[in-house]
């Protein structure tokens, strides 16, 4: 591999690149899906290729190919150079990457049980047992379960002298029970919605979440929701469960702190951000108990790695500290514009895409409360959990989210089950109304394996640490 990377980097420099890096990736993925007692699909996929990123005349070029061969490396390097020269035709400021990043290292996701060594039978048996348990409740029309296992081996090399090898292993699983009645569809998921929960871990991740122990409950809850009361429409106290709070952090803190968005380079697609640079260090993002970190060093998080995709080491930094907005997610190029050093968040979707600023593990730091005490301390309100619907404006201010399940809280006690729960707000006002966060006993890193961004569109695997939290004066029950 060194021969190919050296060849590409030397050729790039010979053809005028002031900087170049190359990533060569081997990806292996196994997915299993069951539905209503049938193994609907077992898929074993591989993908192999390389991407070369160059700076020529102060502008970027990138090209990639699936054919990892000497002649193809030459061709693709030349194409990257040609593309960069075309970029210079409509150039902005010359790219400044800041100080060099030179690292020679290797990183491997620590695992207890290699998921590719666990037999397909064992995985299928577990999913089918869960499927059967979900369908025990009369009225469940669709029961689904899936598992995904990924092994990505990457070599990164740059003209600055970096040479980094990484092996990232991901494991994920999810269950979903759907019940249907006239004019009503209700769904319950576990451990997280939209397919599955995922982490950088081995098969021990599956064992940790006790899928079978939760499957029957999902079916019962999906059916119960069909006849549950509609979530009332009012302004009230809202307690968000951990997975919904993870989504809230993702949409209203993770994305708006991406410095490329802030600087306008995502404007035409996902949008920009209300967290403009003059707010850095002084803007009140939330109440004093709200502290949010970006931490790619946390063991097991889906946004955990050794180095990002431009060779910057994994780090932990604050985005919000004691309620004040204090940091962005940065790349080398964007950090240098703020006279900072990258905090290592450039990540690409496979070998064929250019790295973009992406979330790592964006975590709402745990507070002091036990959930039982928090419920007991709430006179009137609604508890909502597990995302079902999400929409937010293109500066990440106005949001409206819906959850799979909700409960009324009355006089400090759990009340009626509620269906079709939604809540809406404006990001800084919402976080300013946060007056209680549960402690680390309730805290976990929730994996989001489907974060979309960029053109061509890329999917990133990110994590969000969260425990339940309480928000005051929130508008709930927004439904036509």
């Amino acid at each position: 591999m060194n021969e190919l990377t050296n060849r590409a980097l030397n050729l790039a420099q010979t053809k005028g690149a002031s900087y170049a890096d190359m990533r060569v990736i081997d990806l292996e993925m196994q997915t299993i899906a069951v539905k209503n007692g049938i193994v609907e699909g077992i898929s074993l996929d591989t993908s192999h290729g390389f991407g070369i990123r160059v700076i020529v005349d102060g502008a970027w070029g990138f090209a990639s190919s699936a054919r990892v061969e000497r002649e193809e490396v030459d061709k693709i390097t030349a194409l990257a150079i040609e593309i960069a020269k075309a970029s210079a035709l409509v150039a902005g400021e010359r790219i400044d990457l800041g100080p060099p990043e030179v690292h020679r290292d290797a990183f491997r996701t620590p695992t207890t049980l290699d998921p590719f060594q666990v037999s397909l039978e064992e995985k299928i048996d577990l999913l089918l047992a869960c499927d059967e348990a979900m369908r025990k409740t009369k009225g469940v029309t669709v029961a689904e379960g899936n598992m995904a296992f990924i092994r990505e081996r990457q070599v990164f090399a740059s003209t600055e002298g970096s040479s980094i090898e990484q092996e990232i292993i991901e494991t994920g699983a999810g269950l979903e029970a759907t019940a249907v009645a006239e004019d009503e569809v209700q769904k319950r998921s576990y451990p997280n919605s939209f397919g599955r929960h995922q982490g950088t871990a081995g098969y021990e991740f599956i064992e940790r979440y006790d899928l079978l122990g939760n499957a029957e409950r999902l079916g019962q809850e999906a059916v119960a929701l069909l006849s549950a009361r509609q979530c009332p429409s009012r302004v009230t106290t809202l307690i968000l469960g951990p997975t919904q709070l993870a989504l809230q952090v993702h949409e209203s803190c993770g994305h708006p702190t991406e410095l490329d968005r802030v600087l306008g380079t995502e404007a035409s697609y996902a949008g920009t951000s209300f967290l403009t640079p003059e707010k850095l260090g002084g803007f009140r993002y939330g109440s004093e108990i709200v502290s949010i970190t970006a931490d790619s060093t946390l063991r097991g998080g889906l946004g955990t790695f050794g180095y990002d995709d431009e060779g910057v080491p994994a780090q932990r930094t604050h985005l919000v500290k004691d309620g004040i907005f204090v940091g962005y997610l940065t790349s080398r190029e964007t950090a240098s514009q703020l006279e900072q050093r990258s905090n290592g968040t450039m990540r690409a979707d496979g070998w064929s895409n250019i790295p973009l600023i992406r979330m790592t593990n964006i975590n709402l730091q745990p507070g002091e409360w036990d959930l039982d005490d928090l419920i007991a301390d709430t006179d009137e309100g609604i508890y909502m959990e597990m995302n079902k619907s999400w929409s937010i404006d293109d500066k990440r201010l106005n949001f409206q989210f819906g959850t799979e399940i909700a409960y009324e809280i009355k006089n400090g006690k759990w009340g009626d089950l509620l269906k079709n729960a939604t809540y809406a707000g404006m990001t800084p006002q919402f976080w300013a109304s946060c007056d209680a966060i549960c402690n680390d006993r309730h805290w976990d890193i929730w994996g989001t394996p489907n974060c979309g961004k960029g053109q061509p569109s890329q999917v990133a695997h990110v994590g969000h640490g969260a425990s339940p939290a309480r928000f005051r004066n929130v508008r709930v029950g927004v439904m036509k």
Binding site: I38, S87, A267, S268, S352, D393, L397, S457
Partner: protein, 451 residues
């Protein structure tokens, strides 16, 4: 580009080695170059080439799937072996009947050489024709210009072999002032049909007119939805209910409604993969020819799309040629949706509106209640008050929470011209949604934002 012969040879190599009862091989190849600009300069410029070969084997009623992007003999043999391993661990799927038999496929010429040969320099010149006028107006241009070529091949052990090369050019731009923004987009098989300068002017015009927007309280308003907005709403309508799997599982708004009125009599919505003004594709990912499917005809729910699996689950149904590559959890999907045009111009819609809102585009649309087709989303890049038949002040963006079918039951005027939109997740499909602008009597806005 590998070409028909090479792709057929690779597919047949796998089929010849397979010991499964039935075998299917899907080839997908893509070359994409994309020039992305922001702050009125090119900030990202990429090219990629990839191929994918997906093998589906059927042993009895057990199905296994594997894929690779390595076309060497050894890699294809490994993929076949992996698919057989996967099938071995399956249980019988009683709903599976058979892979499709060969059918005649309509010849379509969807490959435009000028798109396939478009250079980074040519895209940069197009981008410059947007960025320079933007700079002259002290505006900030952003967007992406992509040119792509694709090759699709499907073969199976029952004798199917189909091949189709095609191209697609896509340009979209958002141009911003310090307090407003405008949008324009176009897509075509032929890059020469993309008029970058004119798209830039369209977005610049909106960006200038949306400066200093005013607050408007949420509530019910008559709306004129430009084609960009209609396109994304129909994309989500298709997602929520125009596929057979959603119908069979009770998740579609079409359940119990076939033959019944679900929209206004002036509304007809259909899918036609062969329509030359969409993004045509003669077959689906099982090699079945595309059929036109009329979802809603003069307001009445009529039909949904099928693949061979969902067709096999219903008596008397055949695949309509809408299979996605295996495996997929959403089932068959229409990716060339269109709505019948009407007679009105947008100027006439404007002149007929005493009070209402003009919506250029909607953003981040998501289902809230799929059976009621309720979605939420934001307006974006050009929202104006309409007063006494004329444009009033630009307004700050609003959030809507609205049933799409209720809106389609209240369509007062339909545009004569149509535009193909590739908004939202449709951007990831080789397809589009061709629609007219609509004037709708009542549309519910539930909150506002600060810009």
């Amino acid at each position: 580009m590998l070409g028909r012969r090479r792709i057929r040879e690779r597919i047949e190599h796998v089929l010849s080695l397979s010991k499964a009862d039935q075998t299917e091989v899907v080839f997908m190849g893509e070359t994409e170059q994309l020039t992305r600009f922001a702050n009125s300069y090119i900030h990202q410029n990429v090219g990629k080439e990839d191929v994918g070969l997906r093998v589906r084997v059927v042993v009895g009623k057990k199905i296994g799937i594997a894929s690779t992007n390595d076309l060497s003999d050894a890699a294809l043999e490994r993929a076949l072996e992996s698919a057989m391993t996967a099938a071995k661990f399956q249980q019988d799927n009683p709903d599976f009947i058979s892979l499709p038999e060969p059918q005649s496929i309509e010849e379509i010429d969807g490959f435009v050489e000028s798109t396939a040969a478009c250079t980074p320099q040519k895209r940069a010149e197009a981008v410059r024709s947007i960025c320079l006028p933007s700079r002259e107006h002290a505006l900030n241009a952003s967007g992406a210009f992509a040119t792509r070529s694709f090759e699709y091949g499907v073969g199976n052990s029952l004798g199917v072999f189909v091949y189709y090369p095609t191209t697609l050019a896509d340009l979209r731009t958002v141009i911003m002032s310090d307090s407003g923004s405008g949008y324009a987009a176009a897509a075509s098989l032929d890059v020469e049909e993309i008029d970058a300068e004119s798209l830039g002017q369209e977005a610049i015009d909106k960006a200038l007119r949306t400066r200093n927007p005013v607050d408007l309280p949420p509530g019910d308003y008559a709306v004129i939805l430009e084609e960009y907005a209609v396109s994304l709403l129909l994309t989500y309508l298709a997602y929520m209910g125009f596929g057979a799997l959603a119908l069979q599982e009770g998740r579609s708004f079409m359940v119990g409604k076939l033959g019944k009125k679900i929209a206004g009599e002036n509304v007809s919505i259909w899918d036609d993969g062969l329509h030359p003004k969409n993004v045509p594709m003669p077959f689906d990912f099982e090699g079945v020819p595309k059929q036109r499917v009329d979802f809603i005809t003069t307001g009445t729910a009529n039909a949904v799309v099928y693949d061979s699996y969902t067709a096999g689950r219903e008596e008397g149904k055949n695949s309509t040629g809408h299979a996605l590559p295996p495996p997929n959890s959403i089932g068959p999907f229409p990716w060339n949706v269109a709505m019948d045009p009407g007679q009105a111009t947008k100027e006439e819609m404007l002149a007929s509106t005493k009070k209402g809102l003009w919506v250029t585009r909607v953003h981040y649309v998501r289902p809230v209640h799929p059976l009621k087709t309720i979605v939420t989303g934001m307006t974006r890049d050009g929202t104006f008050l309409i007063k006494d038949g004329e444009f009033g002040r630009p307004v700050k963006n609003l959030r809507f929470t609205q049933s799409i079918l209720e809106a389609l039951s209240d369509v007062e005027m339909i545009g004569h011209d149509t535009k193909m939109g590739r908004e939202g997740f449709m951007e990831d499909f080789i397809g589009g949604v061709r629609v007219p602008a609509l004037k709708i009597g009542k549309f519910t806005f539930t909150s506002t934002t600060e810009f």
